[in-house]
Amino acid sequence: MQEVTIKKDNKIKLDTIFHSSLNPKFIFLPIKKGYDLLVEDNDYVYKNDKVLVSPLGSNIYSSISGRVLGIKEMTYFNGSTTTSLVIENDFKENIRKRCGARKYINNYTKEEFFDTLKKVSLHYKGNDTVSKIKKIESSFIVNCVELEPYFGNKYFILKKHIEEVLETIDLIDKITGNNKVLFVIKNNESELINELMNILGTYPNIELKLINDAYPNGRDEVLKKYFKLDLAQVIDVEEIYNIYEILKRGKPVTEKFITITGNAVNPSCIIKVKMGSLLSEIFTSHFDFTSKNVDVYINGLLGGELVHTLKYVVDSNIDGILIMEHTEIEKEACINCGICSKCCPMGLNPKYVFDHEGRVKPIYYEKCLQCGLCNYVCPSNIDLKSCMKGCRKNEKGIE
């Protein structure tokens, strides 16, 4: 596998000021299959109230206080249109039971730790965090490398909450039996490295590991391969911060950091939003497009998708939105260069799939990380990523 350094537009710079959009008029919570609705129309819900529950223990919480309006079909970034519960915000942020913050989190016992996390059914990007932590054996990796170029969620969390993150890692380490912790960050984040070097002495089990600013080094599978720890669990720094918030304040995860950046948007920043908000509302109230003709990529230029609408509901799958000036991409016939197969981080062969579409075993598609590196390196601009997904053309959300 060849490491690929992505050429970045130097004009795109993230604001150092933190933004927030925590007052949506409505929120939309997906009523997924198997979930039981705990509220009815016109019911009043408090902030952090459990409104949907699944038999598997995965719950959905309201991120605002307000009245239930009913249900509506809404589009989510994973491509699905799901019936969603609509809650109208009363802008009071009423909480049913205010529980005090815990002074220290390092005095949690193993049972208390897992009980607290189970109570709020902490999930991160569809994966159960509790079972992930339980699987930790001898070492685990803390992933602080951004998934996509131009994104800064993880950097921002570390800059603002480094002590809290390290404290939580130390607790997880203690609870899972003093393992080796690899704290991975990009080697060009010198300011952060210096800061970490000063603090890490107090956490002897945490080992700082630097990785090149190349794509797709932020993917869990790539990190495992890089450090030759195939069986290690990878915990995202955002996930760690969510754990901290739950342990410290006992509240479920109802807010999220999103990077909104690009050469056609102002401001370019990290913004904290409520889960269930509508992207279009966030954009209308906080952002301006600097160009009339723009391309919108959800979750980045490479691993993300080009979309034609912003009427998506914010959920844990959205990490960032890239607004770029529109560029015409002319597709050409494959020139048989093989760069896609040389660069694939999983050692797959996108050209083979492109040539033999429909005749490739499903396991081949399953291995694909959908990182989009093959698309980036292809000199003929062929949409190999969609081929690796199992469909030649993947259009979503056309409006």
Partner: protein, 291 residues
């Protein structure tokens, strides 16, 4: 994001070939004219063959695109670039005695009718032209001067390019410089080139060393257009393997086949090996694809 990597590769090919073409004009034109072996017009025959080959490919490619699209557009010119590069390359390895008209005709026909073949078109064009050359007894690689004298070149002479070979393919120095230059392009399939050169050198040198025939090593490895074909024609984008392991396997196969075929037909050994391996490249790639 990007692009134009393939255009850049073609441009790099042209730049890499420039010194070879100039040297070819000097060796097979200017030098002969200075020795009064050819007249003023015949001095430019190396360039004439090149131009005829390029124009044949361009016209053939242009007509093919016109037939396909039914209208004339700028993109059509862009789509003939591959044919043009192939025509330049084939003109470089032809014997100086080749007929420019035959070169034009074959180049035109291949561009017009054989645009979709998956195997190496340069090799195919060369073999067609050589076939006609054999019919008319024009397959002689020595120029007028080389034919009129007894040659006794040492390794350095061969390195500079004084040896017998194609019109623009004798200078080992310029071929190696071209190789280094092309390696800077990501699309250039250097793995196939290096594996073929190494395998051919091992096979070419070791038997001579065992027999202690050291003087025969250089003419064998530097002659017969072999290095030029391995550097410029073998790593053809469309017809060679695209997987890393496939490229290495193809390169080794070409090296071995070239060595074996050179006992039968030295000047066509390498190009035949390239053609055979290009036909098999699909199968070679499939072996190395993770299923």
């Amino acid at each position: 994001m990007k692009k134009g990597l393939s255009n850049r590769l073609y441009l790099m090919y042209i730049i890499a070939l420039c010194p070879l073409v100039i040297y070819g004009l000097f060796k097979n034109g200017i030098l002969l004219y200075k020795k009064d072996l050819v007249n003023f017009i015949m001095m430019f025959k190396p360039i004439l063959i090149l131009l005829m080959s390029v124009s044949g490919a361009f016209i053939g490619g242009f007509l093919r695109e016109y037939k396909r699209q039914g209208k004339i557009s700028f993109k059509m010119i862009n789509r003939t670039k591959t044919n043009v590069i192939e025509a330049i390359l084939v003109a470089c390895i032809l014997p100086i005695k080749s007929s420019p008209l035959v070169v034009f005709g074959i180049s035109f026909l291949v561009s017009l009718f054989l645009s979709k073949v998956k195997f190496n078109r340069i090799a195919l064009m060369y073999l067609f032209i050589e076939g006609i050359n054999v019919l008319f007894k024009l397959n002689v690689f020595e120029n007028v001067y080389e034919a009129s004298t007894v040659l006794n070149y040492d390794a350095l002479d061969l390195f500079w390019g004084l040896g017998v070979g194609g019109i623009n393919s004798t200078s080992i120095l310029f071929i190696l410089l071209g190789l280094v230059f092309l390696c800077f392009n990501k699309l250039y399939k250097k793995e196939i080139v290096f594996s073929s050169i190494i395998s051919f050198l091992i096979l070419g040198i070791v038997p001579f060393m065992i027999r202690e025939e050291y003087l025969n090593i250089c003419p064998f490895i530097f002659g017969f257009n072999i290095l030029f074909i391995l550097v410029f024609i073998l790593p053809n984008l469309y017809s060679s393997s695209y997987t890393l392991k496939g490229q290495i396997a193809s390169g080794i196969s070409v090296g071995i086949l070239t060595y074996l075929l050179s006992f039968v037909t030295p000047y066509t050994a390498c190009i035949l090996a390239v053609l055979i391996v290009s036909v098999l490249s699909g199968i070679i790639d499939r072996i190395f694809v993770i299923k």
